[in-house]
């Protein structure tokens, strides 16, 4: 067992993690910062973000308007004090990354340009063509290279973290290259490990997004908040699920059903294709359910069309990546042909129960980005409100962790915890020989989630899902791991990931079953209306051996009383 100590440990090398690492390293150059990630930083899912990042830069826009759009988008489940504080933090991050080299798209006069996005009342999505996440990540990673006090632990797979006396005591990892069991200790700890969207089959997410950060926190006893809210992006490319940015609709793209007719008029008469993601995703699904989907050449999945043909002149300048993707992956010329799309999992609104100061109920433990639930997104995140969260709250987390580290020591290691974890992996998991294939369990889990905990839900489906998950957990106890090698053992990594996924799937399903209303991305066919009287509250899931214990927490309302939400 190898032991490594850093003043601050960041779990995750994506946008929130890198921003946090740079902030901590800059705050005090004598603080050592370790970034622990199962990937190399630039392989993180953050590079896939496309359309834009909302920020109030224009004098005609306002913080109140950004806050209101966000809160309405959240279906009133966001904490309004958090949203108000958050929107004020964002503009500085845009300018900061600009000074660091981010190629934000420009107006002819050299100022930063902004575009329209779904459910925004002002075009405030700052963007770098349709590669916003990619360019911001390149900028942050490069910036991080300037700091000798940032140490990267690439391809270290985190298996668990242990608390002692309410503080982080250890993070256990496998160095994938060597197979060594490595224990990290730190004064302050930041969760920034992203979401959990690969619990589903059809997804815009990178393969790597398996909810590790959420599961590690949950198993350690840190509660998760609002996990039943899984966002579906309306336009995942069929059949791969690759994201076709909302920017395409914001810039004027249309959705067409199988009869070649636009249909959003019936669902969002004012905003049409520019309504919020939950509304557009449901509209597509209703069209398909009504028999107006397209049955085409891509297997069983029915879909609708995204039409960009009338905007061919702007595609290469404003939407070069999706134009390239349509061509490379589907052989489609977006200038002249329609693009097949279907809603795909895209964002995990829930996460570690934390607040806009990025603190949790545990001293020295912070959370930022998709791994956290602040909550600023409530029941449905607005497009363009994710990358800005990573930047703004990643920065807050980094500074907070650095300050904390300066005032605290590293706690003594509780050796029994890490020894038990080492045994769990090498003496139990790796030696299992029950005949079940890990990948098959993962596939069955994804089929279950798509079918029973997708865009439309009801009591029967959710109960079925819980039953399925229990069976999958039993099968999981009987897996066989063929690969006994210590070098880059991906099968062992998959096995650990699937263990995480089963726990998170159980939390999502349980929260969804108990929330007998429809709000934002959570739509219950048996309870189609929002019920503020009973459910204007956050779901809190706490780990127990027998499954999640669910409690609730009030939503903070400041100046916007919940009203009927239409677009």
């Amino acid at each position: 067992m190898e032991k490594i100590k850093e003043d601050v440990i960041v779990l995750g090398g994506g946008m929130a993690g890198l921003r946090a690492a740079v902030a901590a390293a800059e705050y005090n150059k004598n603080i050592s910062v370790g970034v622990v990630s199962k990937l190399y930083p630039l392989r993180s899912h953050s590079v896939s973000a496309e359309g834009g990042t909302s920020a109030v830069l224009n004098p005609k826009d306002s913080f109140d308007l950004h806050a209101y759009d966000t809160i309405k988008g959240s279906d009133y489940l966001a904490d309004q004090d958090a949203v108000e504080e958050f929107v004020r933090l964002v503009p500085e991050q845009i300018y900061t990354t600009d000074h660091w080299g981010c190629p934000w798209s420009r107006n002819p006069d050299g100022t930063i340009s902004q575009r329209d996005f779904g459910a925004l009342s002002f075009p405030r999505a700052t963007f770098a063509a349709d590669k916003t996440g990619f360019h911001v990540m390149q900028t942050l990673f490069s910036r991080a290279l300037r700091y000798e006090n940032i140490h990267f632990y690439n391809e270290y797979f985190a298996t668990s973290m242990f608390l002692d006396n309410g503080r982080m005591n250890s993070l256990t990892t496998i160095n994938l290259r060597t197979g060594d069991f490595v224990v990290f200790q730190s004064k302050a700890f930041i969760f920034a490990a992203g979401g959990a969207g690969r619990l589903y089959q059809f997804s815009t997410y990178a393969h790597s997004v398996s909810g590790d950060g959420d599961a590690i926190a949950y198993r350690a006893g840190i509660p998760l908040k609002d996990m039943e809210f899984i966002q579906f992006h309306p336009t995942g490319l069929v059949p791969s699920g690759i994201l076709i940015t909302e920017g395409a609709r914001a810039d004027g793209g249309y959705l067409l059903n199988g009869e070649n007719k636009r249909f959003m008029q019936a669902y969002a008469p004012n905003k049409l294709e520019k309504a919020s993601r939950d509304v557009v995703s449901r509209a597509i699904m209703w069209e398909i359910e009504a028999g107006r989907g397209v049955k085409g050449e891509y297997g069983d999945m029915e879909y609708v069309w995204l039409d960009l043909r009338h905007m061919a002149d702007v595609l290469d300048e404003r939407l070069p990546m999706i134009t390239e993707i349509a061509k490379k992956f589907n052989g489609i010329d977006a200038h002249t042909e329609l693009i097949p799309v279907h809603p795909a999992t895209h964002y995990t609104m829930g996460g570690i129960d934390s607040n806009v100061r990025t603190t949790t109920d545990y001293s020295g433990i912070f959370a930022a980005g998709e791994n956290a639930c602040v909550s600023i997104h409530g029941a449905n995140r607005l497009g363009s409100n994710s990358t800005n969260e990573c930047l703004a709250l990643g920065n807050v987390a980094g500074v907070s962790a650095a300050k904390y580290a300066m005032e605290h020591d590293i706690p003594d290691l509780v050796v029994s915890n890490v020894e038990n974890e080492e045994k769990r992996i090498w003496d139990d998991l790796l030696k299992r020989n029950g005949g079940e294939n890990v990948a098959k369990i993962r596939e069955d889990l994804r089929i279950n989630m798509d079918k029973n905990v997708g865009i439309f839900r009801d009591e029967n489906g959710l109960n079925t899902s819980l039953k399925n998950i229990k069976q999958l957990k039993e099968r999981y106890n009987n897996i066989s791991i063929q690969d006994k090698s210590s070098t880059f053992n991906m099968e062992l990594e998959w096995a650990l990931e699937v263990g995480f996924m089963l726990d998170i799937a159980e939390v999502i399903t349980t929260g969804a079953l108990l929330r007998k209303e429809s709000r934002g991305a959570h739509y219950r066919k048996d309870y189609p209306n929002r019920d503020d009287e009973n459910y204007l509250k956050h779901t809190i899931a706490t780990y127990t051996k027998d499954g999640p214990r669910i409690t609730y927490k009030p939503v903070v309302i400041t100046k916007w009383q919940p009203t009927v939400r239409t677009y």
Binding site: R43, D98, K131, H135, I242, S485, T487, F488, M490
Partner: protein
């Protein structure tokens, strides 16, 4: 045409032994090489190792030699290879860790060496953007598209014979920042790229540009770097 692809994959196991192994992959299950590899891993052989993540050619994980050429597995449509036999090997010029997983650290070390970030003397609180017109952006846009997949390094003949050569992607990154009107760090970067491991080694074979999945042109960046280095050198001699 058969209804299966035959994947012939170069393996390297934990003991360091290398060998080729063949797998049959049903055609209707896969369209990209990455999907083929995942099919094998999930159904035929759990011990095969390779890197992958975004499956949309933006994260740079899955570079490998496919039919003898460096390519991204995620964006290589198998049908486009016009063959039922698909030969897959780890990227050339990198140390193999296991199977198709190579040691990418030297690549990122070289990347870091060229100071790939905007250098200015006004670091601090930022409350306004730095002006940059779309024309100024287009000066460096091509080089900003690099996904750090490292395919160009595998294609570069100089890299193969001399690992101390900085190589196409790091040099293109150096130019990306020099060409950015917000940057003031050209002289620091030129010190690195104009050294004995830098631009002078390049023979302009152009293989780097040819294999780049994102259309980046490192070869052209290296020419620009040489000119800039000369200019800076002359300016220092003649005092301006």
């Amino acid at each position: 045409m058969s209804d299966e692809f035959e994947f012939e994959i170069k393996r390297k196991d934990g003991s360091g032994k290398t060998y080729f192994q063949k797998y049959n992959v049903p055609k209707d299950k896969v369209s990209t090489v990455l999907e083929g590899l995942l099919y094998i891993k999930e159904n035929l052989d759990q011990t095969l190792s390779f890197r992958y993540s975004c499956r949309m050619e933006i994260c740079g994980s899955c570079g490998m030699e496919i039919q003898g050429k460096p390519r991204m597995a995620c964006s290589t449509i198998i049908e486009d290879l016009k063959s039922d036999k698909i030969r897959i090997e780890p990227l050339k010029h990198y140390k193999v860790i296991r199977d198709l997983v190579v040691d990418i650290d030297p690549f990122f070390d070289k990347y870091k060496e060229v100071k790939p970030y905007v250098i200015r003397d006004d670091d601090g609180k930022y409350d306004k953007e730095l002006s940059q017109t779309p024309e100024q952006f287009h000066e460096y846009a091509n080089y900003a598209m690099c996904i750090k997949c490292g395919l160009c390094m595998a294609a570069c003949p100089i890299e193969g014979s001399d690992p101390s050569y900085l190589g196409p992607a790091p040099l293109a990154a150096a130019w990306r920042y020099i060409a950015d009107n917000r940057d003031k760090g050209a002289k620091y970067r030129v010190e690195v790229v104009d050294g004995e491991n830098g631009t002078a080694r390049c023979h302009f074979a152009g293989e780097c540009t040819e294999v780049c999945p994102k259309g980046v042109n490192p070869s052209f960046a290296i020419q620009k770097l040489r000119k800039t280095a000369l200019k800076i050198e002359l300016a220092s001699i003649f005092g301006r």
